[in-house]
Amino acid sequence: MSWRTICTIYGKELRDSLRDRRTLLSTIIIPTVVMPALVLGLGKAVSVIISKAREEIPRVMVIGGADSPGVRRDLEKSGKFKVEPASSDWRSLISEKKVRAAAEIPDGFEKALESGSAPAVTLYLYEGELKSGLAVDQLRNFFIGMRDRTTARLLAARGLPTTVARPFEVRIANVAPPEKIGGNLLGGIVPYIIILLCFMGAMNPAIDLTAGEKERGTMETLLCCPAARTDIVLGKFCMVLTGALVAVACSLVSMGASLAVVGAAFAGNPAGQAGHPGSAPTIDPAGILGVLAMVIPVAVLFSAILFAVSLFAKSFKEAQSYAGPMVFVIIIPAIVGMLPGIDLNLRLALVPILNISLVCKEMLSGVWHWGYILAIFGSTALYAAVALALAVKMFGREGVIFRT
């Protein structure tokens, strides 16, 4: 093995890749843009959609309750609803979004209130539809308010204080520091995105430096030189690995910058102070460094697998058709890692990608299981070494290099 040759090949591949728009797009531009787009763009878009939905005065319908005119009157007087005339096809009107929600008032509702019995009001919504959900929330608040006022009136009539019905309050207070909250919020999605971007960052260089070279005829030119095959593989592999790591670094830096921007935007808002519900999520910097360290063997694994797979292909397109579906193989364990209730154990610590997804989630939320971390780093490094050895072996096979 000659380090001089490996460095020469790596230097050339780096220069070549920096002049390749496709590689720049997949390793630098997309990873840099995805995180801000996700954190700022998507966050902003969701916030605009929700606030617009909240601003809308929902159209609701009162079903039944003809003998309880006070309910309809109070609903209209509240100014928070547009009460539509009752209709027998109210279910389809909700489905067609012409009415957001409906409240079914039982017969003799108001009389029942006075007598102290407890009739039930049923609220109807279209589950999963944002505006319908908001309308039902408002209706529920309206009826809870009505219930509280009725309770207070009935208790006052009997000369009792309202604390009889509500002897104590329940409050919830947070003790988790903001970075832990941020880690829990982002811990699921961040490893998933980083794993995906790491794979995408390695994909284009791997294809370009193997199948691309075979297709363009430069592979044969290179093989004519006295460089050992192993040196050629290592030089090229280092470039593929660089692509993967640059993609990860760009995504982490842009994620940090996005969170800083969001944090600054929240800083002036008292409700957005750290620890408050709805405050900007922050992440422990040690967690980010931990993720970066754990991603290194994954990047080696992805680079070696993509290198070997692309090497087998005759053309860039063929390599893309092999590497493309592999994204799903990567995504599935990464998604499983995001699911709540899946906890890291020794068996899962040996499952590639899933193990990284789980341990990164823990590290970002400030939990450091050193035994698992070592097992995951070691097993992933071992898988990566096997994949790299396979890539070197494949490069020495005439049937692969001169496949026609």
Binding site: T8, K12, R15, T218, C224, C225, P226, A227, A228, E398
Partner: protein
């Protein structure tokens, strides 16, 4: 010098079974002479040359190239060989200078020697005008000059040309042919494969006719014509590869 000894290459194909692309080929190419390997498409020329350049390993037999054995000393063989074929392309995103320098470094040249070598090659091949232009912006002739400079950068003893004029215009073809002659003049061992009879007639000192992986005939142009009684190389070639001649 190149000496092929019963060089054989067998490929395994799922549909066609075993294919003997090169079948016990033996020949000798001397320094200062051009050995022409003449054959139709699929005759086994490229496989033979790839075996000599150590891109492929022989199934059996061997070859000695510049004093080194192609299987056991493949790296040393490659260090002494310049290989030019239609399939040996240039890196489109590198400049002509970067391309030559890259292969110079891979052949072990230090930076000082490399600079002076690039300078002398640029002078010799009249490349100064486009030396710093990206290869994908070069004309076909400029690309061929860059490929030749790439092939020459380490000053190899043995030059292997695999149909280097395929698809080139007349002027570029002439310059390649002229360059091959110059290699002979410098005492290099040159092996030149082609299926163009006129090229072989004009250029080669010794011609080996290869057909279906076997070397069917070998000799100077005059010897081949005398042996087959043909008026020119084309007739001679047809007679050598015809089923009757093989039978």
């Amino acid at each position: 010098m190149i000496e092929a000894r019963l060089l054989t290459k067998v490929f395994h194909d799922k549909k066609r079974g075993q294919i003997r692309a090169v079948d016990a080929v033996s020949f000798r190419a001397e320094p200062g002479r051009i050995y022409g390997l003449l054959g139709a498409n699929g005759a086994g020329k490229t496989t033979t040359l790839r075996l000599l350049a150590t891109l492929l390993k022989p199934t059996s037999g061997t070859a000695i190239v510049a004093g080194h054995e192609v299987v056991g000393e493949a790296d040393k063989v490659r260090a002494n060989v310049g290989f030019l074929a239609t399939s040996t392309a240039l890196y489109a995103r590198l400049t002509s200078r970067e391309m030559i320098a890259y292969f110079g470094r891979l052949n072990g040249l230090d930076e000082h020697s490399l600079r002076s070598r690039i300078g002398s090659l640029a002078e010799e091949l009249d490349m100064h005008e486009f030396l710093d232009r990206r290869c994908d912006k070069l004309s076909t002739g400029m690309k061929q000059k860059t490929s030749i400079a790439r092939m020459l950068v380490h000053d190899p003893q043995v030059m292997i040309f695999d149909e280097p004029t395929v698809g080139l215009d007349v002027m570029t073809t002439r310059s390649i042919v002229q360059f091959v002659r110059e290699c002979r003049g410098r005492g290099k061992t040159v092996i030149y494969s082609t299926h163009v009879m006129s090229e072989a007639e004009k250029l080669c000192d010794v011609i080996g006719i290869i057909h279906e992986g076997k070397l069917r005939a070998e000799g100077t142009l005059a010897e081949l014509l005398a042996r087959t009684g043909g008026p020119d190389l084309e007739e001679c070639f047809v007679k050598v590869v015809s089923p009757e001649a093989q039978g």
